[in-house]
Every structure is written in C-alpha cells, then in structure tokens.
C-alpha cells in the first residue's frame, strides 16, 4: 500500500533540498525543490508501490535542476563569459561557505555524483542509471569529485560515507 504523499515529503524533503543545493546552489535550490515535489505529486499515483521513492525523487530533482541550469545559461552573462559552474553559492547561516565554493567549482558530473552518493545516499548502480554510463563511471565521478573537494576543502574526508 502506498503511503500518503505527505509522508514522502516528510521523509525525503531534506535530502532533495540538499541534492538541489549541491547541484544548483542555495537560491535556485528552493525553486527546484518546489518543481520536483509538484511533479512528483502529479505522478505519484502511478509510481509502483515497491519503488524506491527517494531515488525516484532524486531523478526528478536532477531533471528539474538541469532545467534551471539550462535556463540560467540562456540568460545573458553579465561578464561576457559563460560561467562553468553555478554562481549562486552558499547557504545563509552556515560556516561552510568554503565547502560550497569547492562544490560549485566541481565539473557537472562530479558534482552530481557527489550529491547523489554522499547527500542522497544512492548506490552507484542507481547513480549510473540517473547519469547514464556505467556503475564504474559513476563511482569514478564521485571519487574524483571528492578528491577535488579534498584539494580545495581539506576538511572533507570520506569516512562514514554510504557505500
């Protein structure tokens, strides 16, 4: 039997917010969160009862985040050069501004792999089905992402991360 959608929001709202932040930065993350849960609510009755709702939500969040990134790239860049990475950084009230800088500077695929594995706790096989490519490629992207993060944000270690 399928739980009421409210329970899905309660259980996964935080994870989806953090995934959106990692992909987009703090400001656009909220719009992506709203778009994600509205789309999910629309499709929820058709989701199979035994599906992993959180992985499903992360897949939708990624699609919505990519829409936001595309829209952002279509807008004229004030500096005349397209930024490689999101420009809205940081979470107000956190002391971890440096981490956000480091995350935002990662290449798209690495940033997503880090978000899905370390923030959403998805297995590499699930990440591979989201990003396309092989499980090994997903694992490499996450590992490279963390290696890059460590370089720029030495406090980030990998112990305690989900496997």
């Amino acid at each position: 039997m399928k739980p009421p959608f409210e329970k899905v929001v309660e259980r996964s709202g935080g994870v989806v917010l953090r995934v959106c932040r990692v992909i987009l930065g703090a400001h656009d993350a909220e719009d992506a969160w709203s778009e994600t849960f509205l789309a999910a609510m629309r499709a929820y009755p058709e989701l199979p009862d035994d599906a992993n709702a959180e992985a499903w939500l992360v897949t939708i969040a990624r699609r919505k985040a990519i829409d936001v990134l595309r829209a952002r790239k279509r807008q004229p860049a004030p500096v005349g050069e397209l930024p490689e990475a999101p420009s809205t950084l940081g979470v107000p009230g956190t002391a971890d501004g440096d981490l956000w800088q480091a995350v935002a500077a990662l290449p798209d695929k690495q940033r997503q792999a880090v978000a899905y594995h370390y923030v959403a706790g998805l297995a590499y096989a699930e990440i591979a089905s989201i990003l396309g490519g092989t499980t090994d490629a997903a694992r490499r992207a996450a590992a490279d992402g963390v290696k890059n993060l460590r370089k720029n944000y030495p406090d980030a270690a990998t112990e305690g991360a989900p496997s």
Partner: protein
Amino acid sequence: MTMSANHFASPDDADTLSRLRDRLGLAAEAEGLLDVAYTTVDSPVGTLLLAATPRGLVRVAYDVEDHDRVLDTMSHRLSPRVLRAPRRLDAAARELDEYFGGRRRVFDLPLDLSLSAGFRQLVQRHLPEIGYGQTTTYGQVAKLVGNPKAVRAVGTACATNPLPVVVPCHRVLRSDGAVGRYVGGTDVKQALLRLEAAA
C-alpha cells in the same frame, strides 16, 4: 570531519522546509493536485484530524482512531495525493471551534461521504436531521431510513461514521437509555451530549 550529508545541511533547514511545504500545498491546490488536504486541530475532546477533498469535508478523526492509520486509509481508498494543507480546512476548523464553544448548533459545510457506501451512507445522510440537543435511538433511526428491522446495521453505520461531530451520530442512543458505544469513546459521546444540553 567526514564527507556526509551533514556537510550540506543548514541550521535553517527546518524553517526552509516548512516554508517550502506550505508553498507546495498552495501550488498543489492551484494545479488541482490536492486530492486530500488535511490538518489537525485542538478541541476539548482531544486533537482532531480534519480532511477534505475538493468536494467537501471527508473525514473527522479522533486521536484514538490513530491519525497515521486514518491517513493511510485515505491514501488507499481516496487517493495517495494527501498533503497537510490547512487552508482547505479553515471553514471546518472555525465551525468546530464555534460548536465546542457553544456558539454553533448546525454545521454548514459541504460534505463528501465517499468513505462510506450503501446503507451506511444512507443512514449518515439522515443523521443531521436529529437536531442539536436532541437524542434518538438506533431503532428510531432505522424507521427513519425506512428499514425498521435494520437496528444493528444502523449501529454499524454510526460506528463507521467518517465525520463524527459534524454528522451527529453521538445523538443516537440505545433504546434502554444507555449511551452506547462511540468512535471517540463513550466519555467523548457523553461530553458532546452534555455540551449540547448545556448550551
């Protein structure tokens, strides 16, 4: 320090999420996706869960009914698109507040009886004909709905009333004068009868 989800959490997350969830309720309503909206309100007979479809108030549930189970049942029987979204319940909450304050005798709310069917629903449709402060018996209700032998079935219809308080099954007593069983417990039934007798 380890690389984990906590790195990406913010101390403001609870506030942000609560704001985003409010916004989701409004957007879902605007898009016609809010099949079941619910909220909880305090009352002199405990916390009540109120739920409504776009057609009307569909459920009033006492604490003892286990609100999580009530939500599961609605998800299963009505639609899984269930969200805590208080706005749709504003009128119901206000009228219940007035009722418990002794300032309201009749509920004036659109009702959705789709959680019951057949004879039970027929009985529940007739229950509001029993006026405020009055009582009747299961046998008399059976006569009222044109099936005088269906006394037990009337009892079941009252026991399974999805809209207690608003659909006044508490005004139906046993023919021997005993209060009879009640979905919110006998104490609550007596409290409602006392409230109506005093007002």
